[in-house]
């Protein structure tokens, strides 16, 4: 029989593409449950203090209103009183606010009430009638004014091995005595994730002790754990469904207060409650990329060898949680530098907690590191690509061990050719096209190739198709598509005969989708589950056909309605016979990282981004005319969806470089750029046709598939590539994002 074409590496269309573009895909706010009700949250208008009273009378009397819940009348949530750390939350000190538990206001627009009505319009009308009175206290919302109170995160203080501790190799701050040196400060302002689908939940108490939630989350199991804990229920009594997620970029890595509020409300009205945040509430009621100040010092020899780097960062966090991210990780391992110092601090402000946003700390840190690399190359009068090559690391200088794989040089070469790097002039301001100055820049990104443990369920159905299930979500990369391809190759079955179901906490255990780790982690589980199914079927077939007894599972093939053997087409057992022998239930496997590869090797994905920009000489407008992203991400399972993911990250990087800036008016502690008219993300006209190239060489150590992960490296390094290109075009070095026309005219 014909061996099916290899699916891994194929440009397969998304298995759920049609559902998504036709509107057939059901998102969290689209479940039509009987008796559904609608909720709207009311936010505080002060930034810090106490609620003295809330007038809910008018709202309660408004038509269609079923409940107005505040901390004055909220039912007791049992888990709010039990102490103990929640393992599903980010590894931070402190914890999220327990909604409607007390009168304290800790940030502006903190929810103070939830209004439930029989229609969204009526809920919104009534919400407008709720008026809070407050005893206001002085607040702090400006990081620059609070840098002096920055501190080493408690997690680092408690554990000397914690990566948030100060790092040192060679001499401390050695750059200060270097012959050729620079010292620059950089700012990445607060940016907000803003996925297309806003945060939404439909909460349904199916029985007093059984909760089902349709939730926008990146992790169905983590969310289940959170709310089982909050309500003191066994985990199996809570079901979380997230079949489709309309983008997330990190802001659904964490459970937020609005989810707790909807569940409380559903309990009170004893009907399903639907709640979707407004676009304005997406600035305040969920997390964001924290405002971060950085200082980078670097010294080098005249022939371009880095002798020392010191990189410091202060990121903002809230007063109730110590949020941290790996802002300085890339600096420690990217370039050969015998002397290297990093210091990471955080400062507490009266704001909501940040949450990891795509390419979390690394994207922020890479803006400083990769800008400084460009500054030093300029100082040395060396091409920035050549400068990076002279400081290239053939093994990890931080941990002194080999890379599991590293093909960054190949990425440099691919990208430089495609962008036309040879056109770049060393002297800034040399290229001009009419009224536009033209420049080229590059930026490098890296992110750990993480792999965790995961399970997968698999079963053969009577029609000869195979069903796989995993609790994992798909926030956009095309998880079900990639998993179908992996299963198709492992089973030797056409992709149309495989169905991969996801986004349900009742399915097989899988981690939260984040940290570029899902293909690395769930992929091997799918692979192993497919092999386990083959073995199970082989064993069953062996009882009726001796040929199956003496072979290995790898030889088992799926034919039309039959199980057969590679090289022995006469060995045929109908599926129907096999299914008679089994209960038809799932085979479940658990896949864990094998051996100690992660201790012997440093595992990272790498990327480089090349930008060609145009800057208008009179108006200061910047247009990115070319953007080329090249990645060493190990095996590419699907070049089409992987390419999409890279392009999405690149466009996010354009936003980071040129537009995104959530501004708080510190007098009020309130965001004032809080809609899409004031908070700009790129539109199509801002994005060139992003070119993507993959080295596509398997990593021998991360997992059997050879994958390393793409999500984060797609954006890490894009902003500095654009900033460096602007410098090359204009001679103006902008160290505070976003680089808007006003800054280029000053």
């Amino acid at each position: 029989m014909k061996t099916p074409e290899k699916q891994i590496g194929a440009r397969m269309n998304r298995v759920d593409g049609r559902q998504k573009v036709t509107g057939a895909a059901t998102y969290s706010a689209e479940y039509k449950l009987p008796g559904i009700t609608y909720a709207v949250l009311v936010g505080s208008t002060i930034t810090k203090g106490r609620i003295t009273s809330i007038d809910t009378k008018a709202a309660e009397r408004a038509p269609g209103v079923l409940a107005v819940i505040t901390h004055f009348n909220s039912p007791k949530v049992p888990g709010f009183d039990t102490a103990g750390k929640d393992p599903s939350q980010p590894a931070t000190v402190g914890g999220p606010i327990k909604i409607f538990k007390d009168d304290k206001i800790r940030f502006n627009d903190q929810p103070i009430a939830i209004v439930v009505a029989d229609s969204l319009e009526r809920a919104r009308f009534a919400a407008g009638l709720v008026k809070g009175q407050y005893a206001q206290e002085k607040h702090q919302t400006n990081l620059e004014a609070n840098k002096a109170q920055a501190f080493l995160p408690t997690s680092a203080k408690k554990n000397p091995k914690h990566p948030m501790n100060d790092y040192q190799r060679g001499q401390v701050d050695a750059y200060k005595t270097g012959a050729i040196k620079l010292e620059s400060e950089y700012v990445v302002p607060t940016e907000v994730h803003h996925p297309m689908e806003m945060q939404a939940i439909t909460a349904h108490w199916e029985a007093p002790d059984r909760l089902t939630i349709y939730d926008k989350t990146q992790g169905t199991m983590a969310t289940r754990r959170d709310f089982a804990r909050e309500w003191g229920l066994p985990e199996e009594n809570v079901k979380v469904i997230a079949t489709y997620v309309g983008g997330a970029f990190g802001n659904a890595l964490h459970s937020w207060q609005h989810e707790s509020a909807a569940i409380i409300a559903a309990r009170v009205v004893n009907r399903p409650v639907k709640l979707m945040l407004t676009r304005e509430q997406m600035f305040t009621m969920v997390g964001y990329r924290p405002y971060t100040w950085q200082k980078l010092g670097m010294s080098a020899t005249p022939d371009g060898k880095i002798t020392a780097i010191t990189h410091e960062a202060i990121g903002q966090t809230s007063t109730f949680e110590e949020f941290t991210e790996a802002t300085l990780a890339q600096t420690r391992m990217m370039y050969e530098s015998p002397n290297l110092t990093t210091r990471y601090r955080i400062a507490s402000l009266d704001v909501n907690s940040p949450i990891w946003m795509r390419g979390p700390g690394e994207a922020t840190g890479a803006f400083a590191l990769e800008s400084a690399m460009d500054e030093m190359a300029h100082l040395l009068n060396i091409d920035p690509l050549e400068f990076r090559l002279r400081n290239y690391t053939e093994q990890d200088p931080e941990k002194n061990r080999p890379w599991s794989s590293k093909f960054l040089k190949e990425c440099y070469q691919l990208g430089a050719e495609r962008v036309g790097w040879n056109k770049r002039q060393l002297k800034p301001g040399s290229l001009r096209d009419g009224d536009w100055l033209v420049g080229y820049g590059m930026g490098v990104g890296t992110f750990g190739a993480h792999r965790g443990s995961s399970k997968a369920n698999i079963r053969l159905l009577p029609n000869g198709t195979v069903l796989l299930q995993s609790a994992v979500t798909d926030i956009g990369p095309g998880t079900a598509t990639a998993m179908t391809q992996i299963a198709a190759d492992t089973l030797g079955l056409a992709p149309e005969k495989i169905k991969f179901e996801l986004g349900n906490s009742d399915f097989a255990q899988a981690p939260t989708q984040g940290g570029s780790a899902i293909v690395n982690t769930v992929g091997p589980a799918v692979q192993e589950a497919c092999l386990a199914l083959k073995e199970k079927l082989r064993t069953m077939a062996a009882s009726s056909n001796a040929a199956f007894a003496s072979t290995e599972k790898e030889d088992v093939l799926f034919a039309d309605g039959y199980l057969t053997l590679n090289g022995n087409p006469n060995a045929r057992v109908p599926f129907a016979d096999l299914l008679k022998q089994t209960d038809g239930g799932f085979v479940t496997v658990e896949s864990k990282p094998q051996g100690d590869a992660s201790k012997s090797f440093s595992m990272y994905s790498f990327s480089v981004h090349f930008a060609e920009v145009r800057v208008h000489v009179l108006t200061g407008e910047v247009r990115v005319s070319k953007l080329v992203s090249c990645a060493d991400a190990g095996t590419i399972v699907n070049e089409k969806t992987a390419g999409n993911q890279m392009k999405g990250g690149a466009v996010g990087g354009i936003g980071m470089a040129l537009m995104e800036h959530a501004v708080i008016d510190d007098r009020f502690g309130r965001y004032i750029t809080k809609d899409f008219a004031d908070y700009h993300v790129p539109v199509h006209a801002d994005s060139p046709d992003v070119q993507v190239a993959f080295v596509n060489k398997p990593d021998p150590h991360v997992n059997a598939l050879g994958t390393k992960g793409i999500g984060e490296i797609a954006i890490i390094g894009v902003a500095p590539a654009i900033a460096n290109a602007i410098f090359n075009a204009t001679g103006k070095r902008l160290r505070e994002l976003p680089i808007t026309p006003d800054k280029l005219l000053v």
Partner: protein
């Protein structure tokens, strides 16, 4: 959003009567701005008078002018053959505004009546004299990056957001209105107001008055025109500053000129002195630079919008250069 009554008259008189009777009523046409403002609680009309059934959508050639009905949609007007032939500057300005979806909903009359995008106006928890007279101006000492450099007062430093209006004021258009006291014609430059002590009033429309059309006089500005909109995003963004420039050239000599700016004042900002500085001069960058200097006389910046003092004259030069070369 508040609860409101909704009526949909088919006769112009009925619409005007309904509004004149009720101080808390508002006309609604495309609704692209009003609905947003109602959702945010900035405006709370008790009654909406939907005027979309009134026969005010025509674009007609009249003796010496183009008459554009108040309910003509921004998108179709920008692509209209008569408009493109006779008033290409207007077509350019319309196309620079919003997005195709919005332009296909928004009307010409509604475009003129857009409220400011000042974030303090949009947030009912913050002070704003335009939204709540006497509450103070949040922008004056706040985040005033998008704000005025001309014609502001200590009560309000907001800017008018329309692109279309910048072209119309440059082209000497006239607004035709109909009200309880009959019809009247308002020169476009007198239509919008400066904030003064009453920033709550954007225009000189009286209670009950309905915009029925705008008339744009035919002129020599059919070729050398340019609408320059400076923004940090390539599309779908309000102007940091914008310039409507129209030249009539005799060889390289400027016979006539029109110039106006957007994003700099509480109304579309006509630059008549700068126009005088252009007329009779050669169409050179030096001339444009001099006109830009004249245009900027009296400009004053706040903490976050000083860049406009440089961007605005640069945009004028760029607009004039492009217009001359068109």
């Amino acid at each position: 959003m508040n609860q409101f009554q909704y009526v949909r008259p088919t006769k112009q008189k009925a619409a005007i009567d309904a509004l004149a009777r009720d101080a808390n009523a508002q006309f609604i046409a495309g609704g692209t701005n009003l609905i947003d403002l109602m959702k945010r609680g900035v405006m709370a009309p008790q009654k909406l008078i939907d005027i979309n059934r009134l026969p005010l959508t025509k674009i007609e050639s009249q003796n010496g002018s183009l008459r554009i009905g108040a309910l003509a949609l921004n998108g179709p007007v920008a692509e209209d053959k008569l408009v493109l032939e006779r008033q290409p500057l207007l077509a350019q300005a319309l196309s620079a505004g919003a997005s195709p979806q919005l332009r296909n909903m928004a009307t010409v009359g509604g475009n003129m009546l857009q409220r400011t995008r000042c974030p303090y106006f949009y947030d009912t928890a913050l002070p704003c004299n335009k939204r709540e007279p006497g509450s103070g101006c949040g922008a004056l000492e706040g985040f005033n990056r998008m704000h005025a450099i001309f014609g502001f007062s200590d009560k309000c430093i907001a800017v008018h957001p329309s692109d279309m209006s910048v072209a119309l004021v440059a082209l000497d258009a006239t607004v035709l209105v109909s009200g309880p006291k009959g019809d009247r014609r308002i020169p476009f430059n007198d239509f919008h107001r400066l904030p003064g002590d009453t920033p709550q009033r954007d225009t000189n429309l009286e209670q009950g008055e309905l915009i029925t059309a705008v008339e744009v006089p035919d002129g020599p500005f059919t070729k050398h025109v340019h609408y320059q909109k400076v923004r940090e995003r390539a599309s779908y963004a309000f102007a940091l500053v914008s310039v409507a420039a129209a030249l009539s050239l005799d060889g390289n000599t400027i016979k006539d000129a029109r110039l106006a700016m957007g994003g700099v004042a509480h109304k579309p900002w006509r630059l008549t002195d700068a126009e005088k500085a252009l007329i009779g001069k050669p169409a050179t960058e030096e001339t444009f630079r001099q006109a830009a200097t004249v245009a900027m006389q009296g400009a004053k910046a706040f903490e976050h919008n000083a860049y406009k003092l440089k961007m605005a004259p640069n945009a004028i030069i760029q607009a004039l250069k492009t217009a001359a070369a068109a």
